[in-house]
Every structure is written in structure tokens, then in C-alpha cells.
């Protein structure tokens, strides 16, 4: 179980607990549940790499405590 921090630099900063083998799509659902936006509208990036929905956090090498950028579509 890892905890990831997502920040949209406009005031929304959320910490989400998830498994390493969750996909980005699952992470978006969890973030949507916490922030109130729709999961389809969320975009998770790291600098210019947009993270794809079907790849797991483990494959993206997202570790515990790592910060990701939260954008909206």
C-alpha cells in the first residue's frame, strides 16, 4: 500500500492511499472520489508525461510519497 500526493497547484492537494498494482485509471477514480471532479476529467502528469489509464503505478515506478501533477481535461 502506498500513498501518493496529487497537487494541482491551484489549491487542491490530495493524498491517496492505493496499491502498487492499481492502474492509473483506478487512481483517478480514487482521486475523483476525494476531490469531487469526475474521473474522466482528471489528467495525471509528471512534467510532460501524461500517465495512461491502463498502466499500473508499479510500472510507472510511482513510489510511496511521490508527488504527481493533477490537471483537468
Amino acid at each position: 500500500m502506498i500513498e501518493v500526493v496529487l497537487n494541482d497547484r491551484l489549491g487542491k492537494k490530495v493524498r491517496v492511499k492505493c496499491n502498487e498494482d492499481d492502474t492509473i485509471g483506478d487512481l483517478k477514480k480514487l482521486v475523483a472520489a476525494q476531490t469531487g471532479t469526475r474521473a474522466e476529467k482528471i489528467r495525471i502528469q509528471k512534467w510532460y508525461n501524461i500517465y495512461k489509464n491502463h498502466i499500473t503505478l508499479k510500472d510507472y515506478e510511482i513510489h510511496d510519497g511521490m508527488g504527481l501533477e493533477l490537471y483537468y481535461d
Partner: protein, 397 residues
């Protein structure tokens, strides 16, 4: 400027009609090549031509959320705001299904509640296939009536948040609308009459029930289905609204199967139980003619009782397996079941608990998944697991 709304256009729901589409999606549409090339200077007539060329519907797709031509045309309609008659013509036209869907979508966004229901409900009868582009970029198959159902019941479709409309029953009580008459209603009435006429042999209804039950059934279960399902179907129709569909439907069916069917599974405990079951079945058939209401309530109560009993049961068997060996446990349960079998609901709990191989396994699996996650000692993690279960994810490790 190409992106400004027609100055003669009315404001929809208090704002510029283009604002119905939210800002980010709007900018994406404005930057889209289809919009820039094809949708420049479109009027209502030329828009029809473009709409006839559509071959799929959808919202945005891909990593950078590219809008579909369908989206661009919806935006164009919002921009030029065609007359209501034109939109209704779009909906009424039968030849081009995508033009129909485009008109229906636009009406859903801009029309009044009564109009929406009045013009969109006839489209429920249209069952043609449509191609829908998913957010991942793949295509999926859907149907016109499915899309209309989404438009009328959900509040988000094709990446646009649909404006809120009043619920149908509100409009019915206000008197603005008449109660919904489905085209299939006549067929249903015929079926009900037939049901009441021949209670005992429902052979001709098997075909219909195959349709009803197909969704919830596993193939193994289909094999064992009994013919006599009148009560099930009646209950299912009324229950759909009140209860959680799949779970309760399965349980209802399972229970009825326990009650009514000849079992062809080998279980050595069944022998004595069969006797009790037959007794019970006769009683049920008498009840059916009389009072369906009572059955339904009783079922609800019975379900609660079964839940309670099952919990109790399970703990019993668990403790038993720990202390004694298998044979003793089976013998003990067999004895216990015998003692209870005089009272029919309890006996059916016994039947249910150690009953059909498929059902308890499925139910246990489902329960275990949730229980493993949500009864974690740490409350935060339990909470997180509950959320995950509601989203359909596995619990945290």
C-alpha cells in the same frame, strides 16, 4: 469571429448557449481541425449534410482528449441555435440515425423538461445499432434506445454534463405529462393474463423468461431451471425498483429453485429434506393464487431472517470444523437441520446455507471480498477499503 455565438440566439438556462459545454472541452473543440475546417460558416441546412456524414458518436478520446466530430457538430448547433422545428425534424427523420441522435442530444441540452420527455421517449422504440467512441479510443457497440436511456436518466453523457431536468413522476403529478405508456405494455398485459390462466404449466413462458433471466444467470444454472416461474417473473418486475437488482434476483431465484425444483445434484442430505420441501411447495402454490403481497413481504422478512441465521450458521460451522472432525460436523449439522425443518423458513435457511453449490460460493466470495477489506482494524484503512469496494477495486494490501 468564428467562435462567437450567433447574436440573435437566445440564452439557454441563463447563459450563453455555448457555455453548456464546459471551458476545457470548449477550448479543445475550438482547436480541433474538424471544427476549423468543416464547421466554419455552417448554417442549419449545411449542418444537416455534415450530420449525415457522421458515423460514430462519442465524447473526447485519447491522451489529449480529442473531441469527436459529433461533439463539434453539437457545439455548432449550440452556436447557431437552430429553430425547434428543425431540431424536431432531426429527431423525427428515420433514415439517418446519427442525425437523430444529434437532434436528440441537442434537445436534451436546450429543451424544456416536457419537450425532452415528449420527443425523446418515442425514440425508445428505435433499436438500431450505433458506433460509440470510448475515451480510450476504441469503438463500442451501443443502440439508439440505450443512448436515449442514458440521456434521460443519467446526468453526464459524451463528456458533457447534461442540464438537470425534472423527474418524470414529478411532471406526471404536475399534470404536464401523461404516465408513460410503453409500446411493450400490450405484450406484457397479454403475458400476465396467460400467467394467471395457466399457473401450473408455464411451458410457453419459458422463452420469455429466458430473456428476463439471461442477464443474471450462469449457464450451469440455466440447465437446472424449472418451468414454473410465474411467481418469479411477477416478483421480478415489481422488485426491480425496490431492491438491488442482481443480488436479490439471484437469491430470489435460488430460493424458489430450492423450493420448487427437482434437484439433480447429488447430496446425501437431500433425502430427508425433499420430503419437507414437497410439503412446503404445496403450501406455496396455494398462497400464490391468494395473496402475492403477502408473499413479497414475507420474502423480505425471510431474507432478513436468513441473513441473521446465516451469520449464526457460519460461525457455528467454523467453530465446529476447528474442534471436531469433518464427519462429526456433517452429522451434527444434519441433525440440527432436521430439528429445524419443521418450521419452513428456517428449514429453507438450512437449505440455502448448505444448498446449491453455485450460489453460496458466489455469495461467500462476494462477502469475503468486502469483508476482508472493510473490517480492517485501522479505521482509516477500513474507510479506504469501503471506498475502494464501492468503486469496484480490491482492498488495500
Amino acid at each position: 469571429m468564428a467562435n462567437r455565438t450567433d447574436p440573435a440566439a437566445k440564452s439557454i438556462r441563463g447563459t450563453n448557449p455555448q457555455n453548456l459545454v464546459e471551458k476545457i472541452l470548449r477550448s479543445k473543440i475550438y482547436q480541433n481541425t474538424y471544427w476549423k475546417e468543416q464547421c466554419f460558416g455552417l448554417t442549419a441546412e449545411t449542418l444537416v449534410d455534415k450530420a449525415m456524414e457522421l458515423d460514430h458518436l462519442g465524447g473526447t478520446h485519447g491522451g489529449n482528449r480529442k473531441p469527436t466530430p459529433f461533439m463539434c457538430l453539437v457545439m455548432k448547433m449550440l452556436q447557431i441555435q437552430p429553430e425547434k422545428e428543425i431540431v424536431i425534424e432531426f429527431i423525427k427523420n428515420d433514415d439517418y440515425k446519427y442525425v437523430r441522435i444529434l437532434g436528440a442530444f441537442y434537445l436534451r441540452l436546450t429543451g424544456t423538461d416536457v419537450d425532452v420527455y415528449r420527443y425523446l421517449e418515442p425514440l425508445y422504440n428505435d433499436y438500431r445499432k450505433l458506433r460509440q467512441k470510448l475515451p480510450e479510443g476504441k469503438f463500442s457497440l451501443t443502440h439508439v434506445d440505450e443512448v436515449i436511456d442514458e440521456l434521460l436518466t443519467k446526468d453526464y453523457s459524451c463528456d458533457i454534463a447534461l442540464p438537470r431536468i425534472k423527474k418524470r413522476w414529478t411532471l406526471e403529478t404536475l399534470g404536464s405529462l401523461e404516465p408513460r405508456r410503453s409500446v411493450l405494455e400490450d405484450d406484457f398485459e397479454e403475458e400476465e393474463e396467460k400467467e394467471e390462466n395457466d399457473q401450473l404449466d408455464g411451458l410457453e413462458e419459458e422463452a420469455h423468461e429466458k430473456q428476463d433471466y439471461y442477464r443474471g444467470r450462469s449457464p450451469a444454472r440455466e440447465r437446472d431451471r424449472d418451468r414454473r416461474r410465474d411467481r418469479d417473473r411477477y416478483r421480478e418486475r415489481d422488485y426491480d425498483r425496490d431492491y438491488d437488482r442482481d443480488y436479490d434476483r439471484e437469491r430470489g431465484r435460488g430460493r424458489d429453485r430450492d423450493r420448487d425444483r427437482e434437484r439433480d445434484r447429488d447430496r446425501d442430505r437431500d433425502r430427508d429434506r425433499d420430503r419437507d420441501r414437497d410439503r412446503y411447495r404445496l403450501r406455496d402454490e396455494k398462497d400464490y393464487g391468494r395473496d402475492r403481497e403477502r408473499d413479497r413481504e414475507w420474502e423480505g422478512r425471510e431474507r432478513e431472517r436468513r441473513d441473521r441465521d446465516r451469520g449464526r450458521r457460519r460461525s457455528h460451522s467454523r467453530s465446529r470444523s476447528r474442534s471436531k472432525d469433518r464427519k462429526d460436523r456433517e452429522g451434527g449439522e444434519h441433525r440440527k437441520r432436521h430439528a429445524r425443518s419443521s418450521t419452513s423458513p428456517r428449514r429453507r435457511d438450512g437449505a440455502e446455507e448448505n444448498g446449491t453449490r453455485e450460489e453460496p460460493k458466489k455469495k461467500k466470495e462476494r462477502k469475503e471480498k468486502k469483508e476482508d477489506g472493510t473490517d480492517h482494524p485501522d479505521p482509516e484503512i477500513a474507510e479506504a477499503n469501503r471506498l475502494r469496494a464501492s468503486l469496484g477495486l480490491k482492498p488495500l494490501k
